[in-house]
Subunit: 306 residues, 2 copies
């Protein structure tokens, strides 16, 4: 058996080690020295079209939770696609979102700034009353929702299929429109998969439905956000603060106007981290299941894109 | 019935309103125009000795969770002392601690700094593996412990009497010494009541038991911390980061060396906020109970000091 890892710009040394520790008999090749006879490809931001050069592919696994980079490829129908659903990945996302939400809720930047000028100013701005709306209620969306509910925030989710999450108000697209949904929240978190239907979903039309001075947090994909519309929404007061962890081009160019903008906080795609050991275990388990004609872990519906 | 509120420097307008809304018949006077015939005093940082001028006192309630400012007074034995245990107070503390812990765990300051210089640097420093020790496991300590456990942190508590908290390792002073306790954690949170036994408990002797590069968070009272010992612990590497919300003198003087110190983060006593409406309700309920010879809500053992 042969695995090819195609993840340009990513350090995959640890992943290779974990695969070899779990099964020393497996041959692993890594882009750009990947072997085209591999039956499994583990991919992240692979060069477009590269996957079609493989002749024996049976399984393509994303190295993360998202699969838009796989679903856009023209793969033979019998090739299975899966993704990583990793408790560590979800937990690091949960921690990131809790941090960012609390940073805004407590106006923490004001205190950080006041540290530099020896200034004691309690509650210069009142703490914010947040009503948090989460777009996307997959594994991560649900865990994030529960964690924020545990902190006694009011939390609402919006997804294609309605979910049952204790303490959380869950809506689906058949309950109400996305505009109606966002009109009822003042902190909007995007955790959607990127599909043709969700691309550009964070646009000025949607932002206009938010109450004034809302918070936007995008931890899904850069392709969800229409960048110029964020500036428009800030200028017209719908959005007071945006925290972005994902971008159309990564790394974000140093000349991009998002940088150093007083209403925009940038983090360099660090919200969640795939645990390489867990990823290796999931891919190997899936290959075993494939051989035994069993249903895969975290298989992706290529039509739906998630 | 007459209530005197003695809380110099605090805005108590809202508290007075809530008391009047709940019972319009009650006379409320506020320091420095307080009436000395009041039977209830609600106090916060009252001038020392002032309480002994009251002749009809039956109940002294703290305006917050701490009561060290009451227990230091020489009050007649029959005067009851109570404090505010308010779900909103605990929740704002929970939010604050979660924010600060995550801020350090994710090295968030680095990302905030990189925003200002257009720099994309993921994981310049690896995220921290935190083992969190909480000194004090009263209502707040327990809620904080649970909230951090919910985020999948390893959490230990240390208190006089051992508590049962699901998922949390709870120790008492009869299980192990405080030095042994802190040697097993690298993020120490002080939530102790201030009593003669806990004053100056955060001292160099204790800090030396911490693993190198530990985090200290003090949200209890300034009197717990020996200020010069914090500098010593930072210089000798035991503490890499300290976040302080409470100080011996508040407001902290603009010339204090804590300010603008790269290893110390100051917040101006904003970790938890008493909800004035809840405080009013608790005090009035306690007065009713006192009249009916019922046991009080959140009564304080004046000997123990909590």
């Amino acid at each position: 058996m042969s695995i090819a890892i195609i993840a340009p710009g990513r350090n995959t040394v640890e992943l290779v080690e974990h695969i070899h520790n779990m099964d020393p008999g497996i041959e692993v090749s890594v882009y750009p020295n990947h072997k085209l006879d591999a039956s499994i490809a583990i991919v992240w931001n692979q060069p477009e079209g590269l996957l079609t050069e493989f002749k024996n592919l049976e399984l393509v696994s994303s190295l993360g939770a998202g699969v838009e980079h796989i679903c856009r490829e023209e793969l033979a129908e019998q090739i299975k696609v899966s993704r990583i659903v990793d408790p560590d990945l979800s937990n690091s996302m949960v921690k990131y979102i809790n941090l960012v939400v609390l940073h805004y809720q407590k106006n923490f930047q004001l205190y950080l700034d006041n540290n530099k000028i020896n200034q004691w100013k309690p509650f210069e701005k009142p703490e914010r009353e947040l009503k948090i709306g989460i777009l996307g209620a997959g594994e991560m969306g649900q865990e994030v929702a529960i964690s924020l509910y545990n902190l006694e925030f009011e939390v609402l989710t919006y997804s294609n299929t309605k979910k049952e999450i204790t303490g959380v108000q869950s809506y689906s697209s058949s309950d109400l429109t996305i505009s109606d949904f966002v009109s009822g929240v003042n902190c909007l978190i995007c955790l959607l998969p990127l599909t043709p239907k969700t691309e550009n979903i964070l646009n000025f039309g949607l932002f206009q439905s938010l109450p004034k001075s809302s918070i936007l947090i995008n931890v899904a994909r850069g392709g969800h956000l229409v960048e110029e519309d964020l500036f428009k929404a800030i200028e017209s007061g719908y959005i007071s603060d945006a925290c972005l962890d994902v971008f159309r081009e990564e790394p974000l160019s140093a000349s991009h106007p998002f940088w150093n903008h007083e209403n925009i906080l940038i983090t360099p795609h660090i919200a969640s981290i795939t645990n390489q050991k867990n990823a290796a275990a999931i891919v190997l388990e899936n290959f075993k299941r494939l051989k035994n004609n069993q249903s895969l872990l975290f298989e992706v519906d290529r039509q739906k894109g998630y």
